[in-house]
Symmetry: C2
Subunit: 191 residues, 2 copies
């Protein structure tokens, strides 16, 4: 791992553990085992580090969701693909996703956030289109607001950042199937 | 509104707008239109204010959920009641709920959080029991992990803190029915 990547990795861990607001460059340097100057050699500020910790996993998620939407599949299969894509983002980049989903506030009045917000807006829009497409094709219930449904599913998946512990909870592949079942046919037994 | 309640109300607004980490007692005093000392007369610290902003709505939510679970209803009706209870918590105390759901980090190493964490743990446990009860009664799908489902629904509801704007989005009563439909029978058209 390059020094640069190591700083980002340790920063993600420290951000996850104590929150960005309570983290100093000094804390990150300590976690890497180097001096503050060693961090400043690569990054101008804590905000720059944060953005680089969280933007790549969000951008990858958006790219993969675009792939799902372009696929030649039924809307139900796309729903499965979208849940899979989203939950898989927690697999290798669990810490980065968790930090991303908790720390948007930190950037609230920061121009840097605009890039991150653009990615998440575009991503949400694709989910809304997925629901609308399924409604038009007659695969999804029509009497349901597409935006509300899209955010229900995004929320269901994103909430993992708050409770999911890869060491203690069920593996992601199992979670993908469970969440797809809940999203597609609900918890009730349909007769 | 008493001065004490006014401080809590304005604090919720400021916390919601700029995040707790970026809020000083001075900011809260300014929002109320009084001096810092006027805030300190009622509260010892920003943490005390935060706890009092978020604990009451969480405690009410827990109490109402206990009421739902004690009810003499089918599990499906309890699921409706639980979603109703949860989303209604956003109705009068929208700001407080939003702050509660974003700022748990702030208290992470703080003894004060233990009270809040206890409330949310007990609340989550009731949701898990709701799912298990429905599975035992044969109303809910059995091949689904109860904890994963419970957190799916809690996440779906809690995510409102991130996107819901009472001035722009559909009213809460409509959202309750939409989310109940999604939770009980999914988005697919069941034939």
């Amino acid at each position: 791992m390059s020094r640069r990547r190591e700083i980002l990795r340790r920063a993600a861990e420290v951000f996850d553990r104590q929150g960005v607001a309570n983290t100093s460059i000094e804390d990150i340097a300590k976690a890497v085992g180097i001096k503050r100057e060693g961090v400043y050699y690569y990054f101008k500020s804590r905000g720059d580090i944060l953005l680089e910790v969280i933007l790549p996993s969000s951008t990858t998620l958006l790219m993969n969701m675009k792939g799902v939407m372009r696929g030649n599949m039924s809307s139900m299969e796309k729903l499965h693909g979208a849940i899979q894509t989203h939950l898989n983002a927690f697999n290798p980049t669990y810490l980065e996703m968790s930090v991303a989903l908790r720390e948007e506030h930190f950037f609230r009045n920061d121009a840097k956030l605009s890039e991150l917000r653009r990615v998440w807006d575009e991503y949400s829009q694709l989910w809304i289109e997925l629901v609308e497409e399924g409604q038009e094709k007659g695969e999804f219930k029509k009497n349901i607001n597409a935006k509300m449904s899209a955010f229900a599913y995004i929320g269901m998946c994103n909430w993992l950042a708050r409770w999911y512990d890869p060491a203690k909870d069920v593996p992601i592949p199992e979670l993908i199937e469970t969440y797809f079942t809940l999203a597609s046919s609900g918890i009730g037994i349909n007769e």
